[in-house]
Symmetry: C2
Subunit: 462 residues, 2 copies
């Protein structure tokens, strides 16, 4: 008898709990639907991105354009129900491209003289006003350069290891190739090379050279270092199979030294747990060419749109929400490091942080990064979240988060990276064609909606 | 003791079964990986699509271009390990657009005279060589036209119900709006209207008019019926709020009557169960404008690429595989109906059929359509398939299949439709801009790989 009563009580209790949970899930599903409908019908992100990418344009940290972007986004955040908005100073190094760079095949026995499509890499040195000439040696890896030994001296080292297009996720191909760009020129310089060419970081064959950061160990090393379009990399390679190739290289890049810059921060103070911060962010700087539309204008407008969407659906956050537009992700990470330092000193706790820095394409999910102990705290929610996000084809998986929020890992919150579809990303990344025309308004809107949905779900946890 | 022995035996048996299953899953995973790598690195689909869309171009059933497409794809199928390739005759009705259609706002009190961006709808009548003029009445639905009664007489009826962009899947918005285009002109004609304009079937505001089929009940009804670009639909509507609007309409469309045409069929005879057919297909015809790249060149090259990929990985199918490129999906479905009729009469059994007719974008999954009893036969496999396809972000869901394979439902197999991401589809659908430039090679390749993977999994079932 007693057992029966206990059983009945338990069943009743569980039934109620289940019923309560189901009702809660239903309410959440309804809110997430509203967020998506709002984003798809009334988004602001695309308009903001148009301004950032086409009116301001490329905005390398330290440049006047980057400061214009600070001012523009600060003004927008002021309109989004924020409790306060501020510019957080950080010191950046201003690299300046100078005049249009030149690389020219000269006096070749097969094709004579021909200009190549190139872009100096960020951090590249200058050639001097008369330019530099030298014989090209093609390599596929840093190891190969080391093996060249004395032969590398006075040569133009040409890194030409192509993307492996067999990878489903193009970031994996990028990850396998980008050491050539980041570390290749430094090694070439140490081996005595006069200049360095790097095959552009894309799996597509086209005429758009890609820039991106290259790192020199000391201020004496920077030689001219340039990205070459994949079509011209193929051309160079095929010529090298049949002839000696000499190229002329001219760059007028300058290190313009330290500049004061800013990350832009908007905050909505939480009503119940103001000391627990949920951060959304992207990076405000971009390369100086193109409009930095996907990289990372999209991440900035995604993050601002989170505030816009929550305002539109009249959601009052329980925790403190911060939208942080980090400065200098591309060549220094000053914004991200400074933000984490200041936050650390203030004894803040970031309950969660979500970065969007993989483009404005259809979102496929979020990857999370946190220490195992921390993850255990959040995993009980994952099944419920995945169920709610599944109709939007959004999944939560283990993976990376974002370069700017990485330094917050010590605060023992969970870090997320938005993972949009990556098929088209490296068509545009760090090029002249990373412009608003490469962004689809609905795809962009769905990224904002995915981020707003996750922020909402995080804020709803007990 | 006996119990212990039985337990041990059972554990051993289950252990082996589990082990065997795991090994089988692993082998399948490996094959699906190979299929994807092959598609991403060595695809032919994009090259074939370039030819179909740019060299042949729009290929409405009955047109010379449609016959060129039959010849081209027949030749390609001949190279793909097929046992036989044949053209299956079907009778189509050839509608011909004629000269560039004209719609012009005339003598308007606000903007004077202005040409609108329009395309005659497939099935539209001709205006006569002097054109037609009339006053425009805007409506949002077929019901509204009925309510107009005698007021509709001699007017130009303008259907202007916009897409609901709040839908996540754009096909849902299309489904809610397309009655205006398919049935609106017929109703307008029956009410005595002189011509009919229909807002283009897209959620985007742009200058590209969309064509598509419109159906008239009898040969006496066809009035001029045209799709208007969404920007011009907005303009018309805003003018109508402030003034009377009269337009001039001129079309020279012709019904050119019955023509012999063909679906193209390639077959690889199955080694073990040749009487069970697995079909992959798309439709070879397209509208006459643009290149029919997404609709449905993509579906044709996806299907041909299934054969190509299975050949590349040296897969010998156990069941008979058919690649069917159906003629006349856009305005009559003659190919699909004829194919099913002939198959029925021959007593064939289609074990499964997969159609790709929703564009060449990143695949998100397959929807299946079959009667409940039939589905029960296949569902035991779904969990294993979903597990194998999950790394490629492919899910199997209940839903529709495809117009061309629909008539095969009676054969009690399972019908699938490939469901690519739909965000950009209606930017291009039935327009001048549905060209190769709107297709991304990697996105296209992933569609082929998804189809080849499902064919492989279907073929592996006992």
């Amino acid at each position: 008898m007693r057992q029966i009563i206990i059983t009945i009580l338990l069943v009743t209790y569980w039934g109620t709990a289940d019923f309560g949970q189901a009702a809660e899930q239903e309410e959440k599903a309804f809110t997430i639907k509203k967020i998506h409908e709002e984003a798809l019908t009334n988004q602001m992100a695309y308009k903001w991105l148009y301004y950032l990418s086409e009116k301001i344009g490329g905005r390398l940290a330290g440049s006047p354009e980057s400061i214009a972007a600070v001012e523009f986004t600060h003004q927008i955040l002021d309109t989004l129900n924020t409790t306060k908005v501020w510019n957080q100073p950080c010191e950046v190094n201003y690299w300046y491209r100078g005049d249009k760079e030149e690389v020219r095949i000269i006096n070749n026995s097969i094709i004579g003289t021909k200009d190549l499509k190139v872009l100096a890499l960020g951090g590249s040195g200058a050639s001097g006003k008369d330019g530099i000439s030298g014989e090209v040696i093609e390599v596929k890896s840093l190891e190969e350069v080391k093996l060249l030994g004395a032969k590398a001296k006075d040569k133009i080292i040409f890194y030409n290891r192509a993307f492996n297009n067999g990878h489903l996720r193009t970031f994996n191909a990028y990850g396998e190739s980008v050491d050539q760009r980041v570390f290749g020129p430094n090694l070439a310089a140490k081996m005595g090379a006069r200049a360095c060419l790097v095959r552009s970081m894309t799996g597509r064959l086209d005429d758009n050279p890609h820039t991106g950061v290259t790192i020199f160990e000391s201020m004496f090393l920077p030689i001219p270092a340039l990205g070459v379009s994949t079509n011209d990399a193929e051309l160079l390679s095929s010529l090298l199979k049949r002839s000696k190739v000499e190229v002329f290289v001219k760059t007028t890049c300058e290190d313009r030294g330290k500049k004061q810059s800013y990350s832009v921060i908007g905050e909505i103070r939480g009503s119940e747990k103001p000391d627990e911060i949920i951060l959304v962010g992207g990076h405000l700087d971009s390369w100086d060419v193109g409009g930095g539309a996907h990289d990372d204008g999209a991440g900035c407008v995604h993050s601002m749109e989170v505030f816009y969407l929550l305002k539109k659906i009249n959601y009052k956050p329980r925790r403190t929400l911060r939208c942080v537009l980090f400065m200098n992700e591309e060549n220094g990470l000053a914004g991200g490091k400074t933000y984490a330092d200041i936050s650390e000193k203030a004894g803040e706790h970031h309950y969660a942080a979500i970065e969007s820095d993989a483009g404005g394409f259809v979102p496929k999910g979020f990857s999370y990064d946190a220490d195992t102990g921390i993850v255990r705290k959040y995993t009980p929610f994952f099944a419920g979240w995945n169920e709610l996000l599944e109709p939007y084809d959004i999944k939560i998986n283990k993976g990376g988060s974002g370069a700017d929020i990485g330094p917050l890992k010590g605060q023992k919150g969970i870090l997320f990276g938005l993972t949009p579809d990556s098929q088209r990303y490296f068509d545009f990344h760090h090029t002249e064609v990373d412009r608003i025309s490469a962004v689809h308004p609905r795809e962009l809107a769905l990224g904002s909606a995915a981020m707003a949905s996750l922020v909402y779900l995080l804020d709803q946890t007990p």
